[in-house]
Amino acid sequence: MMAKISSPIARVGSVGRYVLLAACTLSALLPGYIMVTGALKTQEEFLGSPWALPAHPSLAAFATSWSAGLPSWFVNTIIVTTGAVIGVMVLSALAAWGFAYWQFKGRETLLGVIVSLMVVPPVVLLIPLFQFGAQLGWISTFRILILIYIGLMLPFSIYLLANFFSAIPHSLLEAAQIDGASTGAIFRRIVLPLSGPPIATLAVVNILWAWNELLLALVFLQDPEKHTLMVGIAGFRGRYSLDIPTVMAGLTLVTLPLVVAYLVGQRFFIQGLTAGGIKGE
């Protein structure tokens, strides 16, 4: 989009720009490099020459970390993430439609309050919610965590979908209305089919959030059998402090699904995460 670069000074500037970008790219990727190569080394090799490529790549560390509980953490994370994301998608779509279709008194204010809840730090809600969970005997159950995740993801989700639904041309909705379609039918047959991309974007953001969440999972899932990936990994470093390759291998396995997802749907990640500013972790 910018003017053609021609003068020698500008050319130096252009080289400088690529050097800067290359340096930043390197710094963004280097920890990943250390993680993956570290996973393929032995402890001695990692300590002796951390930056070198592994001399004799070995998958032993992957095997150790896999048998240290990773499979069950994966399953638990998938259960919690799936439950919470399906729940939040359904509830937020319904609510967003309520906000988008009807102009009622206090609508703007209510939406505003919901949007601002996005930034309430989970640690503030932690104590009362934990006591509530304890009273019901729901500590170390997935349902309490899923319920709280849904609550925490709702504000952003409603906000994003309400914005999108409001932008659907009124003429479309009115035509259906005149044909006698109920509001439920309009929502199902017109609004939802038009909303593929925003729903996909929102799903990506919510899956990422639930997948990466640590604090609540740490407090609510105390039973080791119920640990999620993030809780498990958080304890990994202490347990295997003398076996760094195993730690790195575990981290690599945890990161892999994210990398694959990011390579496939980068657009959704970028759009979704910048759409509302705050998503939290």
Binding site: I34, W102, I114, L126, P128, G151, L214, T274, E281
Partner: protein, 310 residues
């Protein structure tokens, strides 16, 4: 489907009455909103109400402001709060780096989307992974110090996370490393939406890189910069628990050098069993966040338009 409704729709409908014929009344919206509202009320309203009530009690008895008095005179709490305030210094750093890279990226034709994709990547990683890997990189005999020694820069090597004087700043650098991609993408979207005419005129007038961006780019970006600043300020004040927990094994160490408010609340509640004091500290953190939320809310509309304009 009566004839009457069809005729109304055919002609130009006066705007006031367009929704009156078939659409159920506004109360109907409540049916759709209720399920979500129920969960939100439970997770937020109920929890905050309980929290506030508890912060004024001790073992079930009303004790007025006592908990707040104890927390606000607890040196550890004040230290934690001070650390959050110090982390706020990361915000201008984030803005500066993100701005520079966004501007450079906007002028880069080849590899544009590759660089954007790579620079955004750390932002999607779990803090757990980032914390462990970077924590490992920054240990005393870790790869970073090995590299510095190898490059003959041994004097710059330090015990990044073990020296109480710099541990918090190391933490800040890790947060910047992870969060900066968000700013780059946010700013880049805004820059690419700016009209190009002014730049062409400036190029004709021979304006250089700094002059051009100082006079043309920056003034048009105040909205999105303010939005990013507030967003990151909220992160520094109330969303850094994961970093500290992971990189210091939940201790906030060495000593108290990296204790932050969230960790104080977490430890008071779940390790020291001082639930009421933790509640009072949480109320204080909530009020600070609320203050930032009000600013956030005022900026919201303006800067979101910038993002949607992508």
């Amino acid at each position: 489907m009566t004839d009457a409704s069809v005729t109304t729709a055919r002609g130009p409908v006066p705007s006031g009455s367009r929704h009156t014929s078939r659409r159920p009344g506004p109360w109907h919206a409540a049916v759709w909103i209720a399920p979500a509202a129920f969960v939100i009320v439970f997770v937020f309203a109920y929890a905050i109400y309980q929290l506030v009530v508890q912060s004024f009690k001790y073992q079930g008895k009303w004790t007025g402001w006592d908990n707040f008095r104890i927390v606000l005179t607890d040196p550890l709490f004040l230290t934690a709060l001070k650390h959050n305030m110090e982390l706020l210094l990361c915000v201008p750093v984030l803005i500066a780096i993100a701005l520079l890279l966004a501007i450079v990226l906007s002028e880069t034709v080849r590899g544009h989307s590759f660089f954007r994709g790579v620079l955004f990547f750390p932002y999607i990683l779990p803090v757990t992974v980032v914390g462990v890997v970077l924590g490992q990189l920054l240990t005393l005999n870790g790869p970073v110090n090995t590299a510095l020694n190898g490059l003959g820069l041994g004097k710059l090597a330090a015990d990044w996370l073990g020296d109480p004087n710099i541990a918090l700043w190391t933490m800040g650098a890790v947060i910047v490393w992870k969060e900066v991609g968000f700013g780059i993408v946010l700013f880049l979207a805004r820059i690419l939406s700016l009209p190009t005419e002014t730049y062409e005129a400036a190029a004709l007038d021979g304006a250089g890189f700094w002059r051009k961006h100082w006079s043309i780019t920056l003034p048009q970006m105040t909205g999105v910069i303010a939005f990013y600043a507030v967003t990151e300020a909220i992160v520094m004040v109330s969303w850094v628990f994961n970093y500290v927990y992971i990189m210091t094994n939940g201790q906030g160490g060495p000593g108290d050098s990296t204790v932050v408010t969230e960790l104080y609340i977490y430890r008071s509640a779940f390790q020291d069993q001082q639930i009421e004091l933790a509640a009072a500290a949480a109320v204080i953190l909530f009020l600070i966040t609320l203050f930032l939320v009000i600013i956030f809310f005022r900026l919201q509309r303006k800067s979101l338009l910038a993002v949607v304009g992508e």
